[in-house]
Subunit: 298 residues, 2 copies
């Protein structure tokens, strides 16, 4: 890899910049960032790489372009770089849903340009380059998206790239990807937003000061419900079919829980509560979370 161009230098973009430099993956790093606020932060942080004034400038000179913007910006950026990407360049992105963005890419990206999508399973409730971290992607899964026309050598390039970054990789179709993450990520975020919203409504209606008693569980959800709203709007809209199915399954199960509770069905509820407990140990065994109680936070 010679030159890498990061478009969008927020939490994940800036983490990539840090990691690419630390691991000496690129000769040159170019950075494009839209907001003045973030540009000032990047300069102050002395992040490695050269900030370019237009996406054109970065695109011309790069071998790998990584879209790290919200997915709703892909179209505009594609239209701006279409004429300037070299034929040997590979484009990827780190968006969290894949079917819809794949349609945008097919529709607007010039046919001779190559794009193979990635999705590193990493992030946090905070945004901005100041929160980026060198080890953001270490030991995390990165999903590489294989479509009908995806070339093997492009998958190989991305596979090498993400492994150098420190991630574990796995190849998936956009359809499988969007189904899995509707359940492991998109629904959890929606449910967290919805729980916090319900608590806010309840607080207002009852005129109780209840957020101060949030340490009993609500506080956990408030973290996820503080995630970037533009990014999450895009994900919810782009993966709406799978998310709708996930919501329906969730509501069906919640109504079954309600029935158990109202009929005090001891056997049925205990079976459920014992079953779900097993997932935590599985997650810890799979090293998807730390093993300390309470996330080790106290």
């Amino acid at each position: 890899m010679k030159n890498i161009f990061i478009i969008g230098c927020g939490l994940l973009g800036s983490s990539l910049v840090r990691s690419i430099q630390k691991k000496k993956i690129a000769k040159k790093i170019f950075i494009y960032e839209k907001t003045k606020k973030n540009i000032l932060k990047i300069k102050k942080l002395k992040l490695p790489g050269r900030i370019v004034k237009s996406v054109k400038e970065g695109a011309i000179n790069s071998d790998l372009i990584i879209f790290c913007t919200p997915m709703s910006e892909y179209k505009n950026i594609i239209l701006k770089i279409n004429n300037f990407v070299s034929p040997n360049c590979l484009i990827t992105d780190i968006g969290s849903s894949k079917i819809e963005s794949s349609k945008i890419i097919r529709k607007f990206l010039k046919k001779k340009i190559s794009w193979v999508s990635s999705h590193p399973i990493a992030g946090s409730e905070v945004s901005g380059p100041e929160h980026g971290k060198i080890n953001m992607f270490n030991d995390r899964w990165c999903i590489l998206i294989k479509e009908k026309n995806t070339k093997k050598n492009h998958l190989n390039i991305l596979n090498k790239f993400w492994k150098k970054i420190g991630s574990k990789t796995v190849v998936m179709s956009p359809e499988k990807h969007d189904k899995i993450f509707s359940m492991t990520s998109h629904l959890p975020h929606l449910v967290a937003y919805n729980l916090v919203k319900s608590a806010q409504e309840f607080e207002k209606k009852q005129n109780y000061n209840l957020i101060k008693y949030s340490a009993g569980g609500l506080r956990d959800f408030s973290r996820i419900a503080a995630s970037n709203e533009i990014m999450w709007r895009d994900i919810f809209f782009d993966n709406k079919n799978n998310i709708t199915k996930a919501i329906n399954l969730f509501i069906k199960n919640l109504n079954a829980f309600k029935k158990d509770i109202n009929s005090k069905n001891n056997k049925s509820i205990l079976k459920k509560l014992v079953q779900t407990k097993k997932v935590r140990s599985k997650i810890i065994k799979l090293k998807q979370d730390i093993d300390k109680p309470d996330f080790g936070r106290n």
Copy 2:
């Protein structure tokens, strides 16, 4: 305070034992624990206090009795100690819902014996005395329950006790308590159990290995969904009326979110996502959670 009797020495009971000794709150500590497994652990941990063989033995000799068992055990224990509690003794408990347990207490506790309920907002997904901690209740809210006949001097005794333990106290009616915690604690737990259950069902149906990709959000919920099943069954059953209302509000709001997503209602969804974000900062300001991103876990 002279002698304190802890009935049920699991996560919270053992934390109280540790804290009572460290802060020299009692002359003697008596411990009753039902399971042999926990008794062996208590001995191995060399927890302070004397393990008694019957609740009667501890009750006779104590000035303060603290029920730290699941709420479904209150009735049986009350019937065993009714004839042995001294008239000067005060009983409290640390149960998470109050209206139903108050009915049990009124029905079965002898009239001359005093019981004023407490609810320290503390806990974790792990159970057992080996996970107890001296600082479990430090700077945490402890709700003291005031009913019609609650005597002021009993509230004073409990207030002093919990403040010595390190908690902040607030007085509430059982009705207000059960409403607030249906939203800040009981619904969040139910929603977490339900999300994990839905993911398990989805995994089975789709034959996808999805738990390994849980770092995108699901892992947070799996922690809460690993909480003690007996304790949570009791809470769900005891506070079923408030929890049912909370479930209904939650489902109403989730359907509104679904509608926004399906109609791609940008304005409506962004308003919601921005609103809920504010709760996180409020929670951190109120010191109900740590201020590090991602609970500081990485």
